[in-house]
């Protein structure tokens, strides 16, 4: 089936808001090439469970496409129309299972050496969209904070090597009560600018006491969910005909209810958490990977104004990745410090990909130690300070 053959009834299994959106833009969807449309539907089918920033971006993208002239549409997707697809791909149920189609499309692009052409087409489309529908600036300058090194007494190699050239390095920070100062700072921002999913606290271990105005995700709170996913993997992987791709598809379809999550919980946040564990690689096993990936996805999807990420020690690698009970797993604080250090760099990179990057600030701190790097419009780059501020003062110097 091709996009031009789309009919309203084909969206009957979509969640209510997603169905409404698809039907509203049915004509626009019919005019997109098959090499592109399922990627858009993959976003649309989850519309009911998307964060406000994602919803607005999707709505604007569809409205923009619907408003283009026929000639403009041809220009916008010219690269995509030149991608050659197989009959097998065309036969797939890409309306109801767009993720599976996109996965198969990816394999097809690699095998037919069309990946570079697809990348070029995607980048050209994104550039046009960016120009036509500029991303929304944040309602307040963003602040990212990353706390690393919990439980690591010392380190062999210098910390923050990737981030020091971007801001000021402080070696004598007064760190007493440091985590609480940071949590208070993000709570103050959340109360001053109460934006849904605008202020986050992600913890790679057990979350500290925090203000309820923060959207909180923690590795430890998701222990039961992780255990349920690992049990599912253990069962499914021995099913005849099951392979890596099929397993991924099965996991991607899992819902919070199937995983025993609280029925009264926030459905948007729960879906986000399930995706972290079913679509992320390594998030089920290593808490440092979980924290980094959760931060990346929160930034990419929710585009928060404030994000505090705290890394915790991960377990040592073992062969039995499916062991759900990690109570007695050996921990690796020294390795986790290195993971967190590099994860902090990725947190900063991902924050700087968002609108308003030139006004954004970032702080990374070695927990319970005096080392930190502060990056922001008010902080000269590549400097080293002999001063001894506390973390609250340091934050105040950033903007």
């Amino acid at each position: 089936m091709l996009p031009r053959d789309l009919k309203p009834e084909q969206f009957s299994s979509y969640p209510p808001e997603a169905r409404k959106l698809a039907l509203h833009y049915l004509g626009a969807l019919q005019s997109l090439p098959l090499s592109f449309l399922p990627s858009l539907l993959r976003e649309a089918i989850d519309y009911d469970y998307k964060f406000p920033a994602e919803r607005r971006a999707l709505e604007k993208e569809l409205a923009n496409w619907a408003g283009l002239s026929e000639d403009q549409k041809k220009q916008w997707v010219q690269g995509f129309t030149q991608i050659s697809l197989s009959a097998q791909l065309e036969r797939q149920d890409w309306v109801n299972n767009p993720s599976f189609f996109v996965e198969q499309l990816s394999a097809h692009l690699w095998a037919t050496h069309q990946l570079d052409a697809f990348r070029k087409a995607a980048m050209e489309y994104a550039d046009r969209l960016h120009a036509a529908v500029p991303p929304e600036p944040p309602p307040m300058p963003r602040l990212g904070i990353t706390v690393i090194g919990q439980g690591a007494a010392t380190h062999d190699e210098p910390l923050f090597r990737k981030l020091r050239p971007r801001g000021g390095y402080f070696a004598h920070v007064k760190f007493e009560n440091g985590l609480q100062q940071l949590l208070d700072a993000v709570a103050t921002r959340a109360k001053a600018h109460p934006i849904p999913y605008g202020h986050w606290y992600i913890d790679g271990g057990q979350s500290a006491q925090h203000d309820p105005s923060l959207t909180c995700v923690s590795y430890q709170a998701l222990d039961p969910t992780r255990a349920a996913i690992l049990r599912k993997i253990r069962t499914e992987k021995d099913t005849p005909g099951m392979g890596p791709e099929a397993l991924r598809t099965t996991l991607a379809r899992m819902t919070p209810a199937e995983l025993g999550m609280d029925k009264d919980g926030d459905p948007v946040l729960q879906r986000f958490e399930v995706k972290l564990l079913t679509e992320g690689s390594g998030t089920q096993v290593f808490s440092t990977t979980f924290a980094q990936w959760a931060a990346r996805e929160a930034l990419r999807r929710a585009q928060p104004c404030t994000l505090l990420v705290r890394f915790a020690p991960r377990r040592k690698p073992t062969n039995d990745l499916l062991a759900a009970n990690q109570e007695h797993a050996d921990l690796d604080p020294a390795g986790s410090l290195i993971d967190g250090d590099f994860g902090a760099y990725y947190n900063w990179l991902n924050q700087q990909r968002l609108p308003g990057a030139d006004q954004s600030s970032f702080l990374v701190w070695y927990e319970d130690h005096g080392e930190a790097v502060a990056i922001g419009p008010g902080m000269p780059q590549g400097t080293e300070s002999a001063s001894a501020p506390d973390l609250q003062q340091l934050l105040s110097w950033l903007s």
């Binding site: 037919t112 993997i233 890596p244 690698p317 993971d339 590099f342």
Partner: protein, 388 residues
């Protein structure tokens, strides 16, 4: 860095990467530029006759980026390559892999000289003849003269292709050390957990075997290692690649194949997203490459007549590409994940030279063929003129 990165063509990015490697090696390692030297094929031909020559290929896998290896900030992770091997090597700075960036299919492509398109996660043989088949068929070599030591069950079909003119009976023998250890320790596997991890791209899966992998009883017959000794030694090792090198050592001493292919894979733990484990993998692979080079020089069957090739199968995603997650994967197909290097040393190789002309990773097989005296008619690549 703010917002979007400047648009730079893939070709330009690849060239910049090559340039930075070349400039570094010229200034820091004191190597000469290959372009100013005489063509070295005469040099290559001057040594051991092809019939006596031995070739060992090590894939520095799976997937290491420049910034953690040959870029200035990465050199601390490869002290053995930098200080011991590089001064004795010809270094090719710009090897581009234009194929599918999955470890099995990419390694199969390296071994056939054709960009294979087989399913990376299926137990399938390459579709084009492997270097082992060309070698054995044309030079009439016995099965014992071509071996592959591979990390994962998914590599068990890499020794011979499905090509009708070659294929069954003409390929390399394949040892999967982890499979061997699993068979040897059918009970008490927890003692060997760190050695048995199979595959990092699909960590919850160990592919089913469907090939002619090395059987356990041959451990004693061919490698002259008792199962008990094997188990006992394995207990002292810390990674699958260390286990592979242990097997390689036995193979070189007991069988001394002329064509030996070793696929390293520890680095691919990067898929789990823990940077420290990725770096540990690179440092271990660096050390193991140096150990193998020392072994080549001390084993009478290999000393003075062996050419060693070390090359990654491909890189990993750039930090700058928003479509990926940096070092964790190799999914974007960006230029940095495709542009790697080749280090050649030993017999017939000019020492301390840097070549920065572009070449394909499929050029390896025709080069090996030219050095050993067989043709690789179905390979897409071209012999590297500086070596062959």
């Amino acid at each position: 860095m703010t917002g979007r990165s400047q648009a730079v063509s893939p070709l330009e990015l690849s060239r910049q990467l090559s340039h930075s490697r070349r400039e570094f090696l010229r200034t820091a390692a004191g190597m000469a530029l290959g372009g100013v030297l005489l063509r070295s094929s005469a040099f290559a031909r001057a040594g051991v006759p092809p019939s006596k020559r031995k070739i060992i290929v090590i894939t520095f896998g799976g997937g290491a980026r420049d910034q953690e290896t040959f870029a200035p900030e990465g050199q601390e992770n490869i002290p053995h390559l930098m200080k011991e091997l590089l001064p004795q090597s010809a270094f090719f700075t710009r090897v581009v892999n234009r194929g599918i960036l999955g470890h099995y299919v990419a390694t199969a492509s390296l071994a056939t000289g054709v960009y294979e398109t087989i399913n990376n996660f299926a137990s399938l043989p390459p579709e084009h003849p492997t270097v082992f088949e060309y070698f054995r068929k044309q030079l009439k070599r016995p099965p014992s003269d071509a071996w592959v030591v591979a990390p994962s069950n998914g590599f068990n079909r890499i020794g011979e292709s499905s090509n009708r003119s070659f294929g069954p009976g003409l390929g390399a023998r394949v040892i999967l050390p982890k499979h061997l250890l699993t068979a040897a320790v059918s009970q008490g596997r927890t003692d060997y957990e760190q050695l048995l991890r199979d595959n990092y791209e699909t960590p919850f899966y160990a592919p089913e075997l469907g090939g002619t992998e090395f059987e356990l009883q041959q451990l004693e017959e061919i490698l002259k290692v008792s199962v008990d000794d094997f188990k006992s030694h394995a207990r002292t090792l810390s990674s699958p690649d260390e286990l592979s090198v242990y097997i390689v050592r036995q193979l070189m001493r007991q069988v001394a194949p002329s064509l030996l292919w070793i696929t390293m894979h520890d680095i691919d733990i990067a898929h789990a997203g823990a940077y420290s484990l990725y770096i540990d993998g690179i440092r271990r692979t660096d050390r193991l490459c140096a150990e193998l080079w020392k072994l080549i020089q001390t084993e009478p069957e290999y000393a003075g007549k062996t050419t060693l090739f070390i090359l990654p199968d491909f890189g990993r995603d750039s930090d700058e590409d928003a479509g990926g997650n940096g070092f964790q994967h190799h999914r974007t197909g960006d230029p940095l994940s495709r542009t790697t290097w080749l280090l050649a040393l030993g017999e017939g190789v000019r020492k301390g030279v840097v070549y920065d002309r572009p070449m394909d990773s499929t050029d390896l097989v025709p080069t090996v063929g030219a050095m050993m005296g067989f043709s690789t008619s179905l390979a897409q690549g071209k012999p590297i003129s500086e070596l062959a």
